[in-house]
Amino acid sequence: MKKRCLITIGFLLMTSLWGAVSADEQEKQTPCASYFNAKLGYSLGGTTPFPIPAEIREIKGFKPLCNLSVQALYRIGMSERWAIQPGLRVERKGMTSDANVKNYGMTIDDGEGGTVSGRWTGDVRMTSDMLQMTLPFSAVFCCSSRWDLHAGLYMGFLLRHKFYGEVSNGYLREGDPTGAKIEIDDQPQTFDFSEEMRNLQWGATLGGEYHICPKIGIFADLNWGFNDIFVKDFTTITFGLYPVYATLGVSYSLK
């Protein structure tokens, strides 16, 4: 699945480069005109605590999921240099990480209410997977007819959210660090916090776009989540986790 994503992006990048031949026409247009813009991208990043708490001792592995994003934006030119740009985006943000933790809040779950909570020391593999519909709103600064930069805020509604994983090779102290010590070997025990996630996320977006030709460009965005992915009364994980993803891709402008 990941491979297919990369091939698609590679193909789109190539097509856009061929398009660059006719780039000269672009110079004559007003840099910040009003037009529709469609973007296809691939996001890379993580759902991460910030800063990384001391309980996390080592990050042993990291794997992004097939995080495609599709968006439609409408750029409204306000002046020669400035525009505003509302839009609608459907995107997936997901990753799997392997970490070694010490004294880390954990609830091992059976999905039927029989859970053991406490402090975990050992290996944790966790997968965070979110499919969301996002409303970005940015201010655009047009540096030249080819380059522009944008910054703004976004609001995301989660269409599907999952957060699950497993623990192994360590021990749980039930309740708190003075509780009963339960050893778990290389046969992992699972946990699932999917139900504890928020449905609404917001954050800031910052990025740039390079117009290879009037219609085709490439872009890079950074989307930084400002609220914890979990609901307020979820206390098992003692620190907030924030989605921070960079998106790279191609844009197509309807001028």
């Binding site: 991460t48 800063p51 001391a54 059976d110 999905g111 021990y171 660090p177 339960i182 025990q189 790279l248």
Partner: protein, 373 residues
Amino acid sequence: MTKRIATILPVACLLTACIQEEPLNAEADILSCNLSSDKDILMVPADTAMPVTSTTENIDIPVRAGADLHARTPRFIITEGATISPASGSRQDFSGGKAVRYVVTSQDGKWNRKYHVSYVSFELTTQYAFEDYELNSTGKYQMISEVVDGRTMLNWWGTGNPGYCLANSLATPTEYPTAIVPGGRSGNCLQLVTRSAGVFGKMAGMPIAPGNLFLGTFDVASALRAPLQATHFGIPFRQTPKTVKGYYKFKSGEQMTDGEGNEISGKDNFNIYAMLYENTDENGNQVVLDGTNSNDSPHLVLYGKIEGQGETDEWTPFSFDMKAVNGKELDPEKLARFGYNFSIVFSSSLKGDIFTGAVGSTLMIDDVEVECR
């Protein structure tokens, strides 16, 4: 592609470069006692390194009757970085059954655990009326106790209750597999009920939690990893057990299930057996029998098991004799030196050790006595 790599790098750095310094340890355990300074008074001389399980709150050091306990210097192995007060190895007065309170404080200073350490020269008694219990520190389950000369012995009877606590954190003390309840022949009695261990137990390969009680200790640390190794059978004993007798009531649960939780036909039954075994091997190392080897260990000397048991709702007497096994004879000198451990094991499901039984099987036990030669 270069751009993609250029993005991966900062993200990877963001994720890995900011690992903070390792936090100080939050645990505050006594992991084991080093009793080399007590070697001459210990009931079992090989017990100088006495492990302490994570749920232990009262540490009883078994010593010979008449030992001078005015100035002992037990040492404790504690969690790395933690501190203990009074100091490990400091001189303390344990005479007259006094318990000394030790407080272990974690390296990060945020957590502490209190332990009551005493030297006990009370020998294991041979009559059990199942009248008394204390709740564990979180008040969730009972620890079955015996009161001898006004002193409560909490460390004789072991149960799987600390393990069940993991499977059903909402249960009240009498909903645990093992409990002291009213309704005995006189006063209270022991109630063992095979409970469902929930989906959590099923995942760990133990769909049922049979009620069990045994002379020895339960080590909850291995309850999930290797449940049969969690039951450490035996208490040092210097008499020759001849017959084990007592009273029971039993009712089988409705549906039998096997170790994978699949329904199977038939009725459940209960089990009672007893053993006496050598507590050291030929090299002087400690031997502890557990659920994996209590029937066939080469260290077994005497073994006895209830026969012909079945359902009854009246108090019914039982009795079985201890027979020599492994062609071994009791060495009187070794016996006098507490060289043998004795255990009686009660279970509300006959095949509870392989997690086969019927949820709801209920065994009531009262007035058990071990007749000795």
